[in-house]
């Protein structure tokens, strides 16, 4: 026996472990781990031995610390994902995306309105508020903005907002006509007037003169002078004078042609407009009826 061997033997005796046996709980955990492993669950056997000592709470915790950290991270990730997806779904459902995000979402094909349509709806809301405030300048500005937005819509989007937009624009034209001709909506038809399309197709309200004849006052009616106000009932078409009439009488900011206005007050408005803003351009309906001859 070498010196090393003797020392190893002595060390073996000194370090010899006491004859201990695993207790029942440890054997039970072994079988539990075997069952989990055999089941293919891949779950880490977590040590859960209980003890009366306070310190064991801390000591048990370390054995499950890695698992707890992973679970915590997964839980946080799941919550964030749920919030993000929920917010996205809510934004899609309520169509409440902000401008830049809406553009991205629209480009991605999400079921959201186009940015142009959203802007038009915003302009309609603005015009509605302006009408409520009864501020002519505000109404005129909002109406101009709405007209501009309408002109940028494609056919599908325009069909969605056209009825309400027409009503709002008609109301704006009526309001501005009552306030004074100089504040009329440029290029916008007053109630009961006919004329060309000022960005909105005139088909929504068949123009009719005050004598009951249906005016063929479409946008192709080039005979109707721009800026003319044609009296009539709600179905008639009139052309409000422009705030700054162009030499050709085309006071509109768009194409200067008249616009159909549905549901607007009739007659009076047209008369007022005709007499205050464009007396020289005595309006005639497309069928030749005079504007002043309306029922107002």
């Amino acid at each position: 026996m070498t010196e090393y061997d003797a020392l190893l033997d002595a060390l073996r005796a000194a370090l010899a472990p006491p004859p201990v046996e695993p207790d029942a709980s440890e054997i039970g955990h072994l079988h539990q781990a075997l069952a989990v492993s055999a089941g293919g669950g891949g779950l880490r056997w977590r040590f859960a031995r209980r003890s009366a000592s306070f310190g064991l709470v801390h000591r048990v915790r370390w054995s499950a610390a890695a698992t707890s950290a992973r679970r915590y991270a997964l839980a946080v990730g799941a919550v964030l994902l749920a919030c993000a997806s929920g917010a996205g779904a809510a934004a899609v459902a309520t169509d409440s995306y902000l401008g830049p995000l809406r553009g991205v979402a629209y480009d991605l094909g999400l079921p959201v309105s186009s940015p142009a349509l959203a802007a038009t709806r915003g302009a309609m809301a603005t015009l509605e508020q302006a009408l409520g405030s009864r501020d002519p300048a505000e109404v005129r500005a909002a109406a101009q903005e709405l007209q501009s937005d309408l002109s940028g819509l494609d056919d599908q989007d325009r069909q969605q907002v056209e009825p309400l937009a027409d009503r709002l624009l008609g109301a704006a034209a009526s309001f501005l006509a009552l306030q004074g001709g100089t504040q009329a909506v440029p290029g916008r038809a007053a109630p009961g007037t006919g004329g060309g399309s000022g960005g909105v197709p005139p088909a929504t309200a068949p123009p009719a003169t005050d004598d009951g004849t249906t005016g063929s006052a479409g946008g192709d009616d080039s005979s109707a002078p721009a800026g003319a106000a044609i009296s009539g009932d709600a179905g008639s078409v009139s052309q409000l004078p422009a705030e700054q009439p162009s030499p050709g009488g085309d006071g509109g900011l768009t194409d200067g042609s008249s616009t159909t206005v549905a549901g607007a007050p009739s007659g009076t408005v047209a008369s007022s407009t005709a007499t205050t803003s464009a007396p020289s351009e005595k309006s005639t309906s497309t069928d030749g009826a005079t504007a002043d001859g309306g029922d107002g």
């Binding site: 010196e3 370090l15 010899a16 006491p18 054997i27 072994l30 031995r49 310190g55 000591r59």
Partner: protein
């Protein structure tokens, strides 16, 4: 200590195959066989006995979960001690982060008081000298003499070549002898305590 050696009735390789097949009886037998040495190993490196038991149980659970990765040339005992060593190191890393200094206990202490006293008298110097060794030297010697692993198996656990294990073992024994001589100049000359 080696599990494959104690299964003489059916041959050395059969027990390993049963362990690989997650045979509960084989695993329980393995557990009961290696448990004292594993607990002693963990007890010497962890401050509390509950920590040591946790570490042994955790190592066993890891071994069960990863038994499919047991190399053919490695015994389950060496496999278990290798895992246990990593578990203990993990505990020390966590404790280092928490700035907790482990108060290493001796696994032989805390049993029967009379027996403790006798063991204390008999092996106290040798254990104290052993504790003065470097941690890796303690690992190596304990794996050799307590776990009963061969130089090759110790090399696998410590990621050393077998030759390097033997050389490191001799150096560790030299240091142990010198430490004994410093603690007890008379008996430490030979290293014999019995």
């Amino acid at each position: 200590m080696k599990f494959i050696d104690v299964d003489g009735a059916t041959g050395p390789g059969v027990a390993v195959s049963r362990v690989r097949a997650r045979d509960p009886v084989a695993w329980e037998e393995l557990f009961r066989t290696v448990y004292p040495a594993m607990l002693a190993y963990a007890n010497r490196r962890l401050p509390h006995r509950e920590d040591a038991r946790d570490a042994v149980s955790d190592a066993l659970a890891r071994a069960v979960a990863g038994i499919d990765r047991l190399p053919d040339e490695v015994s389950p005992t060496a496999w278990l001690f290798g895992i246990l060593r990593h578990v203990v190191l993990d505990v020390h890393r966590r404790r280092y982060r928490r700035r907790q200094r482990p108060a290493v206990a001796d696994p032989a202490e805390g049993q029967d008081p009379a027996e403790d006293l006798e063991r204390h008298d008999e092996y106290d110097l040798l254990r104290r000298a052993f504790r003065s060794l470097r941690p890796k030297e303690q690992d190596l010697l304990e794996l050799r003499v307590v776990a009963g692993l061969s130089a090759e198996e110790v090399g696998r656990v410590l990621q050393m070549r077998p030759g390097a294990v033997r050389m490191a073992q001799n150096r560790a024994l030299d240091r142990l002898r010198r430490a004994l001589a410093e603690l007890d100049p008379v008996s430490g000359q030979t290293g014999e305590r019995r």
